[in-house]
């Protein structure tokens, strides 16, 4: 299992996952986002929630997501996050960049095995 550590690469990755999750699910609260990421990774990622909320705050500060208080499915008061326009654009940029990086890494790692 992989723990998200407080380093820059993982934080960037976590941000993209959060944005992507919001793109798929629409409005969602922190707990929901965390669960969704865990499910999508087939349980291979557990999120230290301690890193999630600062990440959400950072995205909000950057204007990529916005938040407001609402009521959850089972009637719990919760803060809901949703993507902004800038957030959608950011997903495109980040996805492209991530794909390039991972392609390079794949090729690199394949190459180094020869």
């Amino acid at each position: 299992m992989t723990q998200f550590e407080k380093n820059a690469v993982w934080q960037g990755t976590l941000s993209l996952m959060v944005l992507r999750t919001l793109l798929t699910m629409g409005e969602q609260h922190g707990y929901g986002i965390a669960r969704r990421i865990e499910q999508t990774s087939l349980g291979k990622l557990t999120i230290n929630y301690g890193t999630l909320y600062p990440a959400l705050l950072k995205l909000e500060q950057e204007g990529l997501i916005s938040s407001e208080w609402g009521v959850s499915d089972n009637n719990r008061k919760a803060k809901f996050y949703k993507l902004t326009k800038a957030g959608r654009k950011q997903i495109e940029r980040d996805t492209k960049q991530w794909e390039e990086t991972s392609a390079i890494m794949t090729r690199f790692l394949a190459g180094s095995e020869e």
């Binding site: 407080k6 609260h29 922190g30 707990y31 929901g32 965390a34 669960r35 557990t46 230290n48 929630y49 301690g50 890193t51 909320y53 600062p54 705050l57 950072k58 500060q61 959850s72 089972n74 719990r76 008061k77 919760a78 803060k79």
Partner: protein, 875 residues
């Protein structure tokens, strides 16, 4: 946005709590749905969430401007903790304040003298011009004044300078303006003031045509002189003043001048006669010039060297081996003071390092005592970085406090330094605390605080919180890593203090050997004062001699005066060096002739100064104008020119003053004419000719007294005034003061360095003591057990002392090595002592060890007074 976050913190804090709470609830709900018991559901949810406080902390860091916000918080916290332990705070601030204070004071001097450009426009382009004399005749002299004809050729041929100027200074007598007074007059070319960027405030400057004789005599007054002597009266312009009995028309007022011209009262034009213009072999002028923009000193020197070579070829008679040197004015003015100042600056830096190490030690001990508090904060979610930041902030607060104390101390200290340095320091009057100094103090204060806090912070960052919590309050382990850090600090304190002690010790020994140098005369109980007589009033040499004779006679008659005589220049103050022709040597070109120091004394001078005769006789009243020229030579001169022969009856000709040879009638012992530390070069071997046989217009009166010579001044001045009410008496000094003055900045450098070394020693002692005292306190239980088991007190004492001395010993070793490596920088200040002087090094090492032993004995003794029962019971 984040800036706002730093303020609306309460609201967002509540929101975050609510958000986390809802997160937790949702997780619990999910877990319940998955079939867990409520308790299990909650427990799992809490574990998954991790540390709530940690999350909040991370969130807060994200929310505000964490750096600024936590800095403000840390500084506030730092101040609060310091206020709560005032003893520690005061100790820290005083320790740093001492270190910072001496640094600020010395830096203020260095800043004003070395770093700040001279207060002239385009100061970086102003250079001084020198001749370099032939080493065959002027061994050891690197520069020499200029001769008029050479300067005129330089000016005509060089093209690296915008303008060049030549001048010479002297004391002239001002009369007809209240009390007769000797005023400092600079006779200089028209370009002199423009080169320095100085414009007359009133009236006009000199015209180029005034460089040559012919026009009316004119003068420029310097502002402060104009105000004090003429009440700032503007109508003085156009009026005539009398200088050395000649009338000069005042044509303008110039502002007060800084630096090397700060003593000037009056400027007069060069007014060279054709004969003066043609003088090539007599070097009496100083030169100054302004480089053309874009030309550097290297270029200028190359240019001037080429010109000098041409002149050498053109005038081999006068110019053989005479070169030229261009030196930036600032460098020229500062000269060897620079090295003393740099040594002092280096030593105060060492003092500050000792102070830092000392404070670091204090903080370390304190942090250790607070280990539990810090561990608790860590367990509650404070990141290690934050705790470290807090310690650093505490250090910074101490640093700033120390900086304020140090700055205040330096502010007053600088005044003292200024007075103490005044004689030996160029630009002393420019020494003042300015914004640069303030910036320097602020920078070193904060840095020092941070450096001191770095050690405990570093120590802390490697500690396991669990361990610290287990130890319990007040029972830190002494064996741990911070024992090592503390020892490293003690080692460095001892080493640094030792280096300073070695420096101070070497200077002290240098000074002792300098003071021990036999100057060749007896300086005690001798009064000296200079009389400069105007040639316009005493027109012939006979008249001048008569005047001096009458003065000397009157002075001899004063109560308390044993004997009195006069000489052109008293020893240790330099004077004339001249070419001489020696009997029996083939005729040679002037530039190849031997050079000696020439002094012109009156009869009785040697008795008054107690310079012993080797053979022959003193001058007498009979050796005057028109009689056979006679001469007394020093032992070395005799040996140099007449080796193995009796010099009495032989002849030497002072070719620069006369064609007639002088007969040697006496030989006296060697006297230090230039400086105490000079190994007398050939050019400093002396010949003495009777003042009465040569033209001179100024001499120094020398009187041996039975009582304190400084009490004589009033009666001498009265005696002089009785003969000539217009005659001032200048440069009143005792011969002892002349000797002391010739030591230059050495005594002060030694005094300061000793003070700094003492300070460092004190700090190091406190350091050794406090570390050992702390260690002993940590080990009270162990000691108690040992004593309860019957260990002898002496053995325990020995054990503690030996252990406590280990870092001191290491520091002494390290310090000796570092000192040996560093003493090279103070080589120029040393005299008569090797820089590796084994005596100094061993005495200093022993002193340091002795201090170390005393500092360890006190806590060790205290430890053995421990009552084992009490110690063990306290568990």
């Amino acid at each position: 946005m984040r800036l706002l976050g730093a303020f609306g913190s309460k609201k967002s804090e509540r929101e975050l709590s609510a958000e986390i709470e809802s997160h937790l609830q949702m997780h619990v709900d999910d877990n319940l749905r998955a079939g867990m018991t409520p308790a299990e559901a909650r427990r799992r949810a809490v574990i998954a969430l991790g540390s709530v406080e940690g999350t909040k902390e991370a969130y807060r860091d994200r929310r505000g401007l964490p750096a600024i916000e936590s800095l403000v918080r840390d500084v506030r916290y730092g101040i609060r903790t310091l206020v709560k332990s005032p003893g520690f705070a005061v100790a820290g601030i005083v320790i740093l304040g001492l270190g910072i204070g001496v640094n600020t004071a010395i830096f203020t001097v260095v800043n004003a003298v070395v770093l700040r450009p001279l207060p002239f426009a385009d100061a970086d382009r102003i250079v001084r011009l020198w001749h370099t004399p032939p080493q065959s005749t002027f061994a050891g002299m690197d520069v020499f004044p200029l001769s008029p004809a050479n300067f005129i050729d330089w000016e005509a041929q060089s093209d690296v300078f915008e303008r060049m100027a030549i001048y010479r200074g002297g004391r002239w007598t001002l009369t007809g303006q209240g009390e007769p007074d000797a005023v400092v007059v600079y006779r200089g070319s028209a370009a002199l003031l423009p080169i320095l960027g100085v414009q007359p405030m009133l009236g006009r400057g000199f015209a180029r045509s005034e460089d040559n004789e012919g026009g009316p005599r004119t003068a420029l007054l310097v502002n402060s002189f104009w105000r004090t002597r003429f009440g700032g009266d503007q109508s003085v312009i156009g009026r005539t003043i009398t200088l050395d009995r000649r009338p000069y028309t005042v044509i303008g007022i110039v502002p007060d001048l800084p630096a090397f011209m700060e003593n000037v009262n009056v400027f007069v034009p060069l007014s060279w006669t054709p004969r003066e213009r043609a003088t090539r072999a007599n070097h009496n002028y100083r030169g100054i010039a302004k480089l053309k923009p874009g030309i550097d000193v290297v270029r200028a020197n190359a240019d001037m060297t080429a010109i000098s070579k041409r002149l050498e070829a053109q005038y081999p008679e006068d110019n053989k081996d005479w070169g030229a040197l261009v030196r930036p004015l600032q460098e020229d003015m500062i000269g060897d003071v620079r090295s003393s100042l740099m040594v002092l600056l280096g030593s105060v830096a060492l003092v500050l390092l000792v102070a830092c190490a000392n404070l670091a030690n204090l903080m370390l001990v304190r942090t250790h005592g607070r280990a539990r508090e810090i561990a608790v904060r860590g367990a509650l979610g404070a990141s290690r970085l934050r705790v470290v930041q807090q310690l650093l902030a505490e250090g910074a607060v101490l640093g700033i406090g120390g900086g304020a104390v140090g700055f205040a101390a330096a502010y007053f200290g600088v005044g003292l330094l200024k007075t103490a340095f005044a004689a030996a320091l160029p630009r002393a009057n420019e020494v003042a605390v300015d914004t640069g100094v303030l910036g320097f103090t602020a920078a070193i204060a904060v840095t020092a605080g941070l450096v001191a806090a770095f050690f405990p912070a570093w120590q802390l960052s490697g500690r396991d919180a669990n361990e610290a919590l287990k130890i319990g309050p007040g029972r830190g382990n002494s064996a741990g890593g911070d024992g090592k850090v503390r020892n490293v600090l003690v080692v460095s304190e001892v080493a640094l203090a030792l280096m300073l002690l070695v420096g101070a010790g070497l200077l002290m020994r240098s000074l002792t050997s300098l003071r021990g140098v036999n100057p060749g005369f007896d300086a005690s109980h001798v009064w000296t004062g200079t009389l400069q007589v105007p040639e316009a009033k005493y027109q012939t040499p006979e008249m001048r001699n008569q005047f001096f004779d009458r003065v000397a006679q009157r002075v001899r008659a004063l109560p308390g005066v044993e004997s009195a005589a006069w000489i052109d220049n008293v020893p240790l103050q330099g004077g004339s060096t001249q070419y001489v022709a020696v009997e029996g040597q083939p005729a040679m070109k002037e530039s190849e002739m031997p050079v000696v120091a020439v002094r012109l004394p009156s009869p009785g001078y040697f008795t008054t100064a107690k310079i012993p005769f080797v053979s022959g006789r003193d001058f007498t009243e009979a050796d005057g104008f028109g009689t056979t020229r006679v001469m007394i030579v020093s032992e070395k001169t005799a040996e140099r020119f007449f080796p193995g022969q009796d010099p009495i009856g032989r002849h030497i000709t002072l070719t620069m003053m006369t064609k007639e040879p002088s007969e040697i009638v006496g030989v006296v012992r060697e006297v230090k004419l230039g400086s105490l530390d000079a190994s007398a070069a050939d050019s400093e071997t002396a010949v003495y000719a009777p003042a009465a046989q040569f033209a001179h217009n100024g001499s120094t009166l020398v009187a041996r007294t039975t009582a304190d010579p400084s009490l004589l001044t009033r009666s001498v001045v009265a005696a002089v005034r009785a003969i000539d009410p217009e005659q001032p008496v200048l440069n009143v000094q005792t011969l002892d003061e002349v000797v002391e003055e010739s030591l230059g900045q050495r005594p002060l450098a030694m005094l300061l360095l000793s003070a700094f070394a003492a300070l460092a020693l004190l700090l190091a002692t406190v350091g050794i003591y406090s570390v050992l005292a702390y260690t002993v306190r940590q080990r009270v239980r162990e000691i108690g057990i040992r004593m309860a088991l019957g260990a002898p007190v002496k053995g325990l004492l020995g054990m503690i002392v030996v252990e406590g001395l280990k870092p001191t010993l290491a520091g002494v070793g390290l310090g000796l090595v570092m000192a040996a490596a560093l003493v090279r920088v103070m080589e120029t200040l040393l005299f008569g002592v090797s820089r590796y002087d084994p005596g100094t090094f061993s005495v200093v090492a022993l002193l340091m060890l002795a201090v170390g032993i005393v500092a360890t004995l006190v806590p060790a003794y205290r430890a053995t007074r421990v009552d084992p029962i009490v110690t063990l019971r306290s568990e």
